[in-house]
């Protein structure tokens, strides 16, 4: 098992509020890894710190061998081309159509011909289960589920090794949510992705995740597979997971 992300002793302090107090976790290549915890525990914050959107107060985060705290500008740029990020509401660029959104990183970072880019865009659109005829629509013209799929296609545009998902199934109806889970599993086996996600959706957690880290009370309460999670003494874990087994 080759570690792809190493988080060591990460501390996050907002003004006077401590959010993380020494987090440690390791994410291996090829895993679908979940960050779970009660709301407000700083899952999304940790995700934002991993993708260099937010500085942290102490500790180190290492991604694909780069220490992102002391990273050179060029390395950071290289790293950013090696990951994809899916935001909660998609965050598609509203001034561009779906096809243009997906084509943008390809146009900026590669010297591919327009024709080749169009091919790739078509392929990615099909891969995530959108129709080619949706390609010319703008983000304001499509549904929430389609936005998520389009944003996923955009984050896959550069064929990244690593994918970050922030609550991928939130705001979707149960059927679309299960479809999305299936899509994520399919993409993992097709593209050999490592996926890190923040999720609240129990069904999705059990269907997709290989390993999880549970953040509770500023620390990691548990890291490992889901089968042993209920053995841990924690209010959050007991209430969150018990419901699933009782069903």
């Amino acid at each position: 098992m080759q570690p792809i992300i190493k988080v060591r002793d990460v501390k996050t302090i907002f003004e006077s509020r401590v959010v993380h107090d020494g987090l440690n976790l390791t994410i291996n290549r090829g895993e679908i890894y979940g960050l779970l915890g009660p709301s407000g525990c700083g899952k999304t914050t940790l995700l934002r710190e991993m993708v260099m959107l937010q500085p942290f107060s102490g500790g180190t985060i290492e991604i694909l061998g780069y220490d992102i705290r002391n990273i050179r500008q060029e390395d950071a740029q290289k790293l950013r081309q090696n990951w994809g990020v899916l935001f909660q509401a998609g965050a598609l660029f509203s001034s561009l159509s779906i096809a243009e959104n997906i084509a943008l990183p390809l146009q900026e970072y590669t010297d591919l011909s327009e024709k080749m880019i169009e091919e790739i865009v078509k392929f990615k659109i099909n891969l995530v289960g959108l129709k080619s005829r949706d390609a010319l629509l703008y983000p304001s013209q499509i549904s929430g589920g389609m936005k998520k799929k389009a944003a996923l296609a955009r984050s896959l545009a550069m064929d990244p090794k690593l994918l970050f998902l922030d609550e991928p199934t939130s705001g979707l109806d149960p059927i679309s949510a299960r479809d999305f889970d299936a899509l994520i599993l399919k993409l993992r086996s097709l593209l050999g992705l490592t996926i890190v996600m923040v999720s609240h959706d129990l069904q999705s957690i059990y269907d997709t995740l290989d390993r999880v880290a549970i953040i509770d009370n500023k620390k990691i309460a548990y890291e490992g597979t889901l089968s042993e999670v209920t053995l841990v003494q924690s209010d959050f874990i007991q209430t969150f997971f018990r419901g699933y087994y009782e069903q």
């Binding site: 993708v51 959107l53 990020v85 909660q88 965050a91 598609l92 660029f93 509203s94 943008l104 970050f164």
Partner: protein, 373 residues
């Protein structure tokens, strides 16, 4: 279903309150008023009889709980009569939750000095963050100048069209009207002294040097500066800026610099148009009101209005444009994750950029006077 009612029964020193039917939050006030009319002076024991009650909601449970407490405070014993499981559970729930709740924290009242200090400090922080915005912008600018390929010509051209070329019409119309109004007002005064021809001197210098740049700046701040704030603010709320950063597209390079450069290029052009239209408006009034023909007007114009006035007016353009664009964009980046803050920051952006433009104009005025220009 029984109608809801509250009956009383007094036997010696014992009072029985008999609740029947439904007791929900619609009955609370009525019952409270009724209980308030009772005299408890001779009562030693109150029995709350809920045996005929069908339904008790949580609000009413709270009411009963408070009633028991009040009686206790008056040294009156109370007892509860009830057989229904749901009603007992509802009462138990209230007792349990009440013991857990704590008072709302009182908002701290600030005195004048405290709020003054906080405001001053926040203004100071705002100023520092504006400086850091400028610093980051220049840093990106310097980096992008390293290779000409990195300059986003397409975006610059797009922004020039959006925020300047499309504003030509309104700038032209506004300037024409201002030229007209200024000329009309001064024509009346000049006629009194028979100094008709001096309208050319007056209009030429005031429009070329001051009015045209200011009017253009005002229109552009209201039209394009506010648009910058709203666009970038909305992009921030929908996390588009975050998405750009994670994809390695520097928002400063993609959004900030093109807008600033575009406006700095376009502003002098707009001022030039404003000059033409302002003088045209003045010329029209001079012709109609003061009988100065366009030929005479232009002849005099060439003699008395030095070219430096025109160049000073045009030279102000890039400075005004820089102020309007940077403040507009900075305000856009300051938008927080709520929709209120877009409106707040858009207002601020227009007010602040107009203020900055006028301060800048005053500084120019002092500088040029001292340079004898």
């Amino acid at each position: 279903m029984n109608l809801s009612s509250l009956n009383i029964q007094i036997i010696d020193k014992r009072l029985t309150l008999i609740f029947s039917g439904e007791f929900t939050l619609y009955q609370i006030t009525k019952y409270q008023k009724f209980i308030d009319t009772l005299s408890f002076s001779t009562i030693e024991h109150v029995e709350i009889d809920l045996t005929q009650l069908e339904l008790l909601d949580t609000a009413s449970s709270l009411f009963l709980n408070n009633l028991e407490k009040n009686l206790k405070a008056k040294n009156i014993e109370s007892s509860l009569l009830c057989h229904k499981q749901e009603i007992l559970e509802s009462l138990a729930l209230v007792v349990k939750e009440k013991s857990n709740t704590s008072e709302f924290p009182h908002a701290k009242r600030e005195n004048f000095l405290e709020s003054m200090g906080e405001k001053t400090y926040n203004n100071y922080l705002g100023f520092v963050s504006f400086l850091s915005f400028l610093g980051e912008m220049f840093h990106t600018h310097a980096q992008s100048l390293k290779s000409i390929k990195d300059i986003r010509y397409k975006e610059i051209a797009f922004e020039m069209n959006e925020s300047a070329i499309k504003a030509l019409g309104i700038v032209a119309l506004t300037s024409f009207l201002i030229g007209l109004v200024v000329a009309y007002q001064s024509a009346y005064q000049l006629k009194l002294y028979g100094a008709n021809i001096f309208i050319v001197d007056m209009l030429g210098i005031s429009i070329l040097r001051e009015l045209a740049p200011l009017i253009t700046a005002i229109v552009i701040a209201g039209r394009s500066g506010s648009a910058f704030t709203a666009q970038i603010g909305a992009m921030k709320i929908t996390q588009e800026l975050d998405a750009m950063r994670t994809m390695g597209f520097d928002p400063y390079l993609f959004l900030v610099l093109p807008r600033i450069i575009a406006l700095m290029i376009a502003m002098p052009i707009l001022i030039f148009v404003s000059d033409i239209m302002g003088v045209l408006g003045g010329m029209l009034v001079a012709n109609l009101d003061l009988q100065i023909t366009p030929e005479l007007f232009l002849d005099r114009f060439r003699d008395v209005v030095a070219a430096k006035h025109f160049f000073i007016g045009i030279a102000k353009g890039p400075f005004f444009a820089f102020l309007i664009a940077t403040i507009g964009i900075y305000r856009g980046l300051m938008v927080k994750d709520d929709t209120q803050s877009i409106g707040f920051n858009t207002t601020k952006s227009v007010v602040e950029s107009l203020f900055a433009v006028i301060v800048c104009d005053a500084l120019f005025s002092i500088a040029f006077t001292n340079l004898r220009m």
